[in-house]
Structure formats: structure tokens, C-alpha cells
Symmetry: C2
Subunit: 203 residues, 2 copies
């Protein structure tokens, strides 16, 4: 039995949640889009394999990788009995541009307009999307999608992209301030209109 890892790498582009796909060169599913990933090596932890594959295939490193679920139905890979441990990660739009240029045949797609995917990667993506939607309510998911300093409007865009629905500006701002997950800086960003105060995450 062989074990692979697959990574759902999210980012926000143009106010929409995107994820990174790679065009497969080898069979099976040659030419198809698929999640970045690959085999766990000998004497390598599964977590380490996920970090390594992400780095090798997308150039992204030093991000928080969270394990999602292990998919182990026979027949999910035509090469034989191969189970995969799925992970997700997030990068801010700034970092993703570098990543996109490093990686060959990698491209960002909006989660609500994905091409056909190899293997059972469609199911993995759906699982990842559900997970981050749920975690948004009770954790700091979304922080990794932004640079160190950001405006509250930018943070709201992240939340709206993940949830797929608009949020009330005042309720949103009150919640993040009460929960104490951000703290204001003394910097302001000139965004072309009225300047916006920059915040950073606490801790």
C-alpha cells in the first residue's frame, strides 16, 4: 500500500476564494488538473511530506498546514491501493504571485468554477471548503490569507470570500474587535479614497 499527500492551497484573488491546481504530466489523468501532492517518502512523516510537496510543486513554504481527512477507498487511484492524506493551507495574495511563477503549469481557479479534477480531488476540495467555512466562526482562519498588516475591509473581504455571502460591515467590525483577534497599528493606508487604518493580528 502506498500513501500520498494532497494539498488544497487557498488564496483570495479579486475578492473570490481561489485554490491552486497543477496540470498533471504523467498518467493517470495526464493533462488533467489536480491538487499538488505526491508520495510520502521512506522515513518521512506525513506532515513533512505535505510541506515538502507543497514547496516542490508550488514554491510555498513556512505556512501552516492542517490535516483534513484521509481518503482510502479502493479504486480512487487506478495505479492500485493508494490512500491519500489531505491537507489545506492558505497564502496571502502577495505571496501567491511568486508561487505561481515558480511552479510550472500551476494555476489559480475560483473554488466555484473549477475544471474537472483528477482522482477524487473534487471531494477533497469540497471537504476543505467546508472545513474552512466552519472554522471561520470559531478560529483565526483567514489570517494566513492576509499580509501582516491589513485593513478591516480587507479582512471582511476574506471572510466573505470564504463564506460566499456578504457580511454586515458594522457587525463584522464589532465582532473582530470584541473577540480581540486584531489590534490597530498607527499606520494608515492610502487606498485611493479615504485612508484606512492598518491592523495586525494579536499574538
Amino acid at each position: 500500500m502506498r500513501v500520498t499527500v494532497d494539498i488544497v492551497l487557498f488564496t483570495i484573488r479579486e475578492r473570490r476564494l481561489h485554490l491552486l491546481l497543477i496540470r498533471r504530466l504523467a498518467e493517470p489523468f495526464a493533462g488533467c488538473f489536480a491538487l499538488p501532492g505526491g508520495f510520502v517518502l521512506a522515513d518521512e512523516s506525513v506532515d513533512a511530506a505535505a510541506a515538502r510537496e507543497l514547496r516542490e510543486e508550488t514554491g510555498v513554504e513556512n505556512v501552516y498546514l492542517e490535516q483534513l481527512y484521509t481518503f482510502g477507498e479502493p479504486g480512487r487511484d487506478p495505479r492500485g491501493q493508494i490512500i491519500t492524506v489531505a491537507y489545506y493551507a492558505m497564502v496571502p495574495q502577495t505571496q501567491l504571485l511568486q508561487a505561481g511563477t515558480d511552479a510550472a503549469d500551476a494555476a489559480w481557479f475560483p473554488v466555484d468554477a473549477l475544471p474537472d479534477l483528477a482522482f477524487d480531488h473534487q471531494a477533497i476540495v469540497a471537504y476543505a471548503h467546508t472545513r474552512i467555512r466552519n472554522k471561520l466562526g470559531y478560529t483565526n482562519v483567514g489570517f494566513e490569507l492576509l499580509p501582516a498588516k491589513f485593513t478591516l475591509s480587507e479582512l471582511q473581504v476574506v471572510h466573505e470570500a470564504i463564506l460566499g455571502e456578504p457580511l454586515d460591515k458594522r457587525n463584522f467590525r464589532r465582532r473582530v474587535q470584541i473577540q480581540g483577534i486584531v489590534k490597530p497599528t498607527k499606520e494608515w493606508r492610502a487606498t485611493g479614497r479615504k485612508p484606512a487604518q492598518l491592523f495586525r493580528f494579536k499574538d
Copy 2:
């Protein structure tokens, strides 16, 4: 690389949350207590392996098995590179007695008084306990710990055992009734004192 499954099987005994452990006969960790589990077979799904191992080692079948997490640190098994996919399941006290007699060298332990465990099974147990505590708030976890008909006091004991803290009787009953997760039957149980109405789960 080989893949195993391990199952954390919960039940409630004497108002406390227990789980089932098996005394290992073979090396490594011979003589130690460990979670029921074993290797995934050729052409077997991981889910099916969990169900099969649970049946073989404890006699329990036809229960809902939920995947918890995959543990894949090298060194977690002295036999080599073996990752394990952890599951949890729950059985009512009635069923567990039969299971306990079927299985050789299986025993129930309170989760807050476990013996030393083989491998990284201590971490798996902690993960499972956290998972069911969290799920108690927003799902119907706990239903599988009770027979088809039960009193509200029995349901409260289940919740208290999982949370590890007492609950207010009136608030608890109001919540389960408002959430509409139980419906009353026309039966009453003579429990020795004042009879209690029996309920069943909706759907």
C-alpha cells in the same frame, strides 16, 4: 509503508465515560494495553478496515465509525514506517456487555484513569475525547451511547460524562426539547422511584 486503523470505542458505565482497550499479545508492546485496531488489508478501504477490526476484536458491529485523524510520525511504531488512521465509535452500555465477553483480553477503562498505552495511543485517545466533547454542542453525538428508548436523565448523564461537568437539569431539558432532537414516547420506565418518561431520537 503500511497503514493501520485504530478505534477509540466509547461507552458510558456508572456515569463515567469509558473506552475499550485490548491487551497486546505480540511485540511490540506485548502485555501493554492498546486501542483495538490492525492493518488495512489489500483491496480494502480504510473505513472497511476500521469496521472489520472493531468487529474482530470487540464483537461490535453496525455502529457509526467516524474518522478522527491520521498519525504519521516516523518512529511511532518500532516495526518501521507505519501510519495509522484513527476512528472513534460509541456503543450503549447494553451492547457493550456482550462485546466485552466476546473479546479476549478486552477491558473498559474510564477515560480519566487509563493505564499506560502502547504506541502513541494516548494522543489518539486525547484527540478522540476532544472531538466528541466539541461535537456534543452542535451534533447528535451521544445518541449512540443510549438504547433506542431512554429517559432525559439518562441522556443528561451521557452529556455530563462526555463533558466531565454537571449540567443544570432544567436548562438541559429545555435545550434538547427546543432543538427537537428527541420526541416523547408513551412509555414510562419504573426506575425504582418516580417513573420517568421514555424518549427516542427523531429521525
